[in-house]
Each structure stands twice: as structure tokens, then as C-alpha cells.
Amino acid sequence: MRRTISLLLLLACACGEEEPEPGEELSGGSTTVHDTTRNAFTLAARNLQGERRDAFFVGNALFNRNWVTAPSSTEGLDGLGPIFNAPSCAGCHFKDGRGKPPTEPDEKPLSLLFRLSIPGQDAHGGPVGDATYGGQLQPQAILGVPAEGQVALTHTPREGRYADGTAYTLEEPHYTLVDLAFGPAHPELMMSPRVAPAMVGLGLLEAIPDSALEALADPDDKNGDGISGRINHVWDVEHGEARVGRFGWKANQPSLRQQNAGAFRGDIGITSELFPEEECTPAQQVCREAPSGGAPELDAHKLEQLTFYTRMLAVPARRDVDAPEVLRGRRLFRELDCAACHVPRFETGTVPDAPELSKQVIFPYTDLLLHDMGPELADDRPDYEATGREWRTPPLWGIGLVETVNRHTRFLHDGRARSLEEAILWHGGEAERSRERFRNLSATDRAALLRFLESL
């Protein structure tokens, strides 16, 4: 009987795979660009024209520009720090791409940052920062101000095996705060590592209607597929109310504008109208007394330019869409239920000020929802409604070009996975069943699935 089944399977595989959906290679709809070079993530939406395209170039220059210590001759671009992670957006999102954890002994975690909090919630349900070190560790500082501290990184190997006997070893990271400049942190301090994600397609993700996410959410797993999917409701500073969270590894930011302003303040030490206070806590007197680059340091016009830029970064088209192995991987992606959370297709809504992003059929491979990913991936740090085990499904578009753009293949929220294959193997919790199916695939099928991911 068994023999018959395998024969049937063989026959099934001999048939042609399902054809891709027309236009499926255009991951970002009409915004999609065709580029497979190191610049693949740096380009403007293809349908962005005229003066609006000019505005993109201006935002791009701002994204790359190093902020300098105040006071300086470049008045519009001073006010770095006093404490910070990097002096420019591009410092972490190099070539608009993806960051990575340190890989050399003396390397500091530049494009990997650490959120900090203590038990409890603030007035809006968000995390409470440490009294001394605030909500994020800033490992750099301007001259005359101490950096908050550093992070020591160690690894332990985690052995595993595929069903066919092939062994693999994952690398589990451990993070410890060292060289703390202002004494010990809170005894119950929680740390969450977050690597800089690639910047492509963010405007399209913002253009997905809330209703589409609400339709996908299944907080109580009513359909019994073992996958819940929850919306994170987070505080919107501009509107003074809770809104649907979409950006960040825990979907803790409701809009790109707030995400950008938050990163300016937290990562570069640049204040804006949204976040007018520096990151210095009352315990950091020398930080509080450092010269400011203005109130706010980032004028509204520049925040607008930068936000426009982040909305209009194009997603590169897929490659090899018709290759048999890719099509086979595509089928497996659905059969393993990866697509339950990495939802392939959406249609964006109408964005009043951005016709380029409106009514586009896109293929981001995310549901923007929170999922319990199990204890292995947990940071054990709640963030608004996200628990210490939940992460937002990250989009997969462009993922096959990360190696070209950023010269590395580090994935997941802290870059612990050294390849796409390892990233799959780290999936737990609601994704455990899919991971187990992957572990049970033949080497040929595993390669096909990875080839599909690389085509994205």
C-alpha cells in the first residue's frame, strides 16, 4: 500500500506546477522596480513622477546624511545625540537594507538595538522605560557625554535534525548589558533586541486598510487552525488615541511618520514635534545639560520629506518566477501553511495624498498581525498588547536580495538566523506545525522552498 502511495506522489510531482498569478512578479504593483544590484532597495517607486520624484531624492539625501554635534555650521543638521545608536538613518539601514548583529569579536551592535523596559504599563498601555536608561540602550554618545553602556553577546549551539537525518546547528544568542555608565538598571529589566529591517514597500504596507487586517485577525482562533493572529493597538501621538499598530517587530507603531520620528529620537537623538524631549532620563544629568540643536532639532518640513521618502521606496520585482523549482517552492509554501501568516496578496486602499500607492495589488507576504512564536524566539518583553512571546509577521518581499544589498544573510528580529533555512527552523509556537512540516520535507523540496523565498 505504501508503495502505491509513493508512486502516486511521484506521478503528482511529475505534472506541471500551478502557474503563477499574472503580475505576481510585480511584488509592489505599479511601484515595482526591476533591479537586482546592490541598489535594489534604494529606488523610488516606478510610478512616482515629476516633482514628487524630486521630493524622493531630497528625502534620500536626508536619510543618508550624518547628523553632527550641536552647535555646528550646518545648522539644519545638528543636534546629534547626546546619546545615540547611529548618526544617520543609513547607518543602520545601509543601502535602505537590513541590519545584522555583530559578527566579529570587537564589533559593536550598530544595526541591532535594544529596547528596555520594566514591569508595568504607561498611561497609554505601552512599555515603561527603565528609570535610569530609558526605553532604549544608546551605546554611543557625543564628546563629553558617557554612552549608556554596551551589550556583550554570547552564543550557545542548538542541535537539530531533519527527518531525513541531515543535522543542523542553530546559534542561540544571549545578551548581557556591560559597561553601564549610570549604575545598575532595574533588577527586573526586560531587553528586546531589534535589528533594522529593510525599508522597501513601507508606504504600501501603510496603505493596506485596517479592515483588511481586522478581517484576517483571529485572536481566539475561532477557525481552529492553531493560528491566532492579533492586532496590536498602540498609542498614536499625533491623534491622541489608540490605533492599529503596523510597523516595528512588534507592530508597536501606527504610522510611518511616528515610526520615523521615534527612530530619530531614539536612534539618532534628534527631537521633533512628535517627540520633543531628548532620550536623557533624570538620572543622566550630563546628558540633559548637553547643547541642543534646536527645539525641535528636526523641523516639520524635514520630517515630512523623510516620511515621504520612506513611503516611496520601491519593492524590487521577483526573479525566476517561472522556474520549475521556484513554482514547486511556491506550492510548498502554501502546503506547509506558511501563507497562513505570510499572506501573499493584498490590495491597498485609496491613499488621498499618494495615488502611486492607491489601489495596488501587492505581494508582501505578511498579515501585519501578532503571533505567538514560542519560547525559543521570545524576548519576554510585552509591547502594548503584544506579549513577550508575540512578534509581528515580517514581510518577505525583497528577502532574496538581502545578500546582494547588505552582503549578509541574517534574519529574524535579532538576526540570529544565519540563513533563510535557519530562520524557518527557529519558527515555533503558532508556526511550529509549519516548521515541523519543513523538517519532514526531502532535501529537494527544502531546496525548492528556499529557492522560492530567494525569488521574492
Binding site: A44, D54, A61, V68, A86, L143, Q305
Partner: protein, 383 residues
């Protein structure tokens, strides 16, 4: 702006013209591809020669840092720029200059640069690699290579603009360029670490020459190199690369990054050669470079250009293209210098109006380049 009746064409598709002409017929197109490879070589050969002259002037200066020798080094730097500027349409298609793995473009001409990454600046007297005697005890070529673009795209340690910053210093003047004194390079002079500053200047200049030589070698005739492979490509593929380089420089790079950003921000820091105030010459050289390729010429050498292929299928389009290439050059020339002052003031100030007009001219030229590609049966993916 697309012509009536033209469908989007697939690159390399055969196009049946009304007169039965094939726009890239082998016998006509092959010589154009060969001429392109030759003019690229002429251009890079010139760039190498001018960089070597700069190298000589720098060596003379660091051996005995006087004001006169600093002036001579600055003149040599300025003289080296037009040849390189004209070579920039050879970028953007993954050729030797910006090959994915080996292209040295980011080491040669990266900008804008954060000057404090290299040396002291106003308000930060201890800044930069030159003054980081503990972190970087030994300055050498490998170190500069490794520090270039490390941790951020404006962390530029090498290339023309690093050399420019060392020769001129910061531009704090409203009327002229930077004016770093030669004594910054004299032991016990006006700035600490003078010996390291001399070493750095020499290292950066030597590396520039080396990098330019490596690119030129890939285009040298008779070698087993990129040029050999390029002239053997399908003519469609070769012409697509040629046009991609021209169009990318004309649009996104020149009218966008290099002019619109500065126009919009009104910020000195956004102009291409901000320390020497020679930005206008840079812009002009870029536009000349695009015209060179279209006409198949470099300096005094002239040969079969794209113009001959276009004239064969659409003489009116060829005339329009030539007019617009010249109009862009005239518009750039009409900008009152220095560029960092032209971008200031109200939008109706003469300087800003002239900058805007040049941007518009370049945009129009870019659109026509797309039409040229279409007329030659090539779909141009300009990003």
C-alpha cells in the same frame, strides 16, 4: 510623451519599421558598440593621466608643504575632475566602475562626505581618522579602504572628495571655497597630527590613481577584459547598457541627487564639490559626458555614435535629442557661480531660476533618451 502607435517593447525584440528597417541591424550597430568601447577607454585613459598629474603635485606638496605647492595641488585636482565627470555615463549598468563585487566607484567619487569622519572640523578639533591616533595608530591603504562607507553612507574616507577636503578644508566662505592653510600639513604648524595628514593625503591620492587604473585596464583594447566581452555582446544588450548609463546619470543622478536636492535644501552640504566650489564644473562635465556618448566622441576623437542609429529610423528624434543635449549644457553654463550661492534666496532669484531651468532641461533630455531607446527597439528601465 509616448508616440502614437508605439507599444511597450520587449528588450531585444525585432521591430518592424515602416520602411522595413531594423534599428539595430548588426552591420550598422556593431561599429557603434565598438566605438563606444573605444571612447570609454579614451575617457578613462585621460582620467588616469590627470589623476597621475594630481599625484605628482600631491607628492611635491607633502614633501614640502608650502602655500604655492598647495595651490598647485589644488589646480591639479581641479584639472583632474572634468575627465572623470565625463566618464560617469559609464556607470549604472554594472560595468567595471560599479561592478557588484569589484567596482571601485564608491572609493573613487562617493559623496556627500561627513568631513568630521576624516579630520578636525570647526567645533570638533579632535575629530576624524587623522586625529584618531589611538584607534588607528597606523594609517595605510588597507585601513582607508576598510573605513570607507563603514557604518554609514556618508562615512567616506577615500576618493576625489576626501582629497578635496584635505586640500581645501571646510567651506565656510560665502564668496569662495575653503581655505585650509598649508601649515595644517607642517609639523608644529596650525593643526595637530600634520604628519598623519600628509600620509593620509598621499594614501588617498595613490589609491585614487590605482582604482582608476584598474577600471581603465578593463576597457583597454586587446586585453582579455570587460571591453572584449562588451563588444561581443548582442547589440541590443550592449545598446541597452549604454542607454541605461546615460539615462541614469541624466535623470536620477544629475537632475535628482546632484541638483534637485541642493535646490530644495538650499544647503551647502548638498553640493557635489562643496569644499572647492567647483560643483558647476562637475555638473557640466556630466552633461558633456552624456553628449559624448550620444555622438560617439571623446575630446578630439569622433566616431559612430547612437545618433547615426537614431537618424536612420527617426531623423526628427535625432535632431531633438541633439538640441536637448546642447540645451542642457547651455542651461548649466547659465547658472551663476558658485553653485552653493546660486541655490540660495527666494525662488524668483536669478540663481535659483537658473538652477531650476537646468534641472528641467535635464529632465526633458532624460525623457527623450527613453524615446531614443524605444525608437531603437529597447525598453529602458530607468529607475
Amino acid at each position: 510623451m509616448k508616440k502614437q502607435g508605439w507599444m511597450a517593447l520587449v528588450a531585444g525584440a525585432l521591430v518592424s519599421m515602416g520602411c522595413g528597417e531594423e534599428p539595430l541591424e548588426e552591420a550598422r550597430a556593431r561599429p557603434v558598440v565598438e566605438r563606444y568601447a573605444a571612447l570609454v577607454n579614451e575617457n578613462y585613459t585621460d582620467a588616469v593621466a590627470k589623476a597621475r598629474a594630481l599625484q605628482t603635485a600631491v607628492n611635491v606638496f607633502v614633501a614640502d608643504p608650502t602655500e604655492a605647492k598647495l595651490t598647485a595641488a589644488r589646480s591639479a585636482w581641479l584639472a583632474s575632475r572634468p575627465a572623470y565627470g565625463q566618464s560617469e555615463p559609464f556607470r549604472f549598468y554594472g560595468g567595471p566602475i560599479d561592478d557588484e563585487d569589484t567596482g571601485p566607484e564608491g572609493r573613487i567619487n562617493a559623496w556627500p562626505l561627513d568631513e568630521a569622519y576624516i579630520d578636525a572640523v570647526e567645533g570638533a578639533p579632535a575629530a576624524g581618522i587623522i586625529n584618531a591616533t589611538d584607534s588607528y595608530a597606523q594609517l595605510d591603504e588597507e585601513l582607508l579602504k576598510s573605513l570607507n562607507e563603514r557604518d554609514g553612507e556618508t562615512n567616506i574616507a577615500t576618493g576625489y572628495h576626501a582629497i578635496e577636503f584635505l586640500l581645501w578644508g571646510q567651506d565656510q566662505s560665502e564668496t569662495g571655497p575653503g581655505n585650509r592653510p598649508a601649515s595644517d600639513f607642517v609639523d608644529g604648524g596650525t593643526a595637530p597630527n600634520a604628519a598623519r595628514r600628509r600620509t593620509y593625503l598621499k594614501l588617498a591620492t595613490d589609491l585614487l590613481v590605482k582604482d582608476l587604473e584598474s577600471v581603465q585596464a578593463q576597457w583597454a583594447p586587446g586585453g582579455d577584459n570587460y571591453a572584449k566581452r562588451f563588444v561581443a555582446l548582442d547589440v541590443e544588450e550592449a545598446v541597452q547598457r549604454i542607454l541605461t548609463g546615460m539615462g541614469s546619470l541624466s535623470g536620477a543622478e544629475l537632475s535628482g541627487e546632484r541638483m534637485t536636492v541642493a535646490y530644495d535644501n538650499k544647503d551647502q552640504e548638498d553640493e557635489h564639490s562643496c569644499f572647492s566650489d567647483s560643483t558647476l564644473a562637475d555638473l557640466y562635465a556630466n552633461a558633456v559626458g552624456i553628449q559624448n556618448v550620444y555622438l560617439g566622441r571623446y575630446g578630439g576623437q569622433d566616431g559612430a555614435g547612437l545618433d547615426e542609429l537614431v537618424a536612420q529610423v527617426d531623423p526628427a528624434l535625432d535632431r531633438k535629442m541633439k538640441e536637448q543635449l546642447q540645451a542642457s549644457l547651455d542651461a548649466i553654463q547659465a547658472i551663476p557661480g558658485p553653485f552653493d550661492q546660486a541655490i540660495l534666496g527666494a525662488d524668483n532669484s536669478p540663481g535659483r531660476q537658473k538652477v531650476k531651468a537646468a534641472v528641467e532641461a535635464l529632465k526633458a533630455q532624460t525623457e527623450t533618451l527613453v524615446d531614443v531607446a524605444t525608437a531603437l527597439g529597447i525598453e529602458l528601465n530607468l529607475e
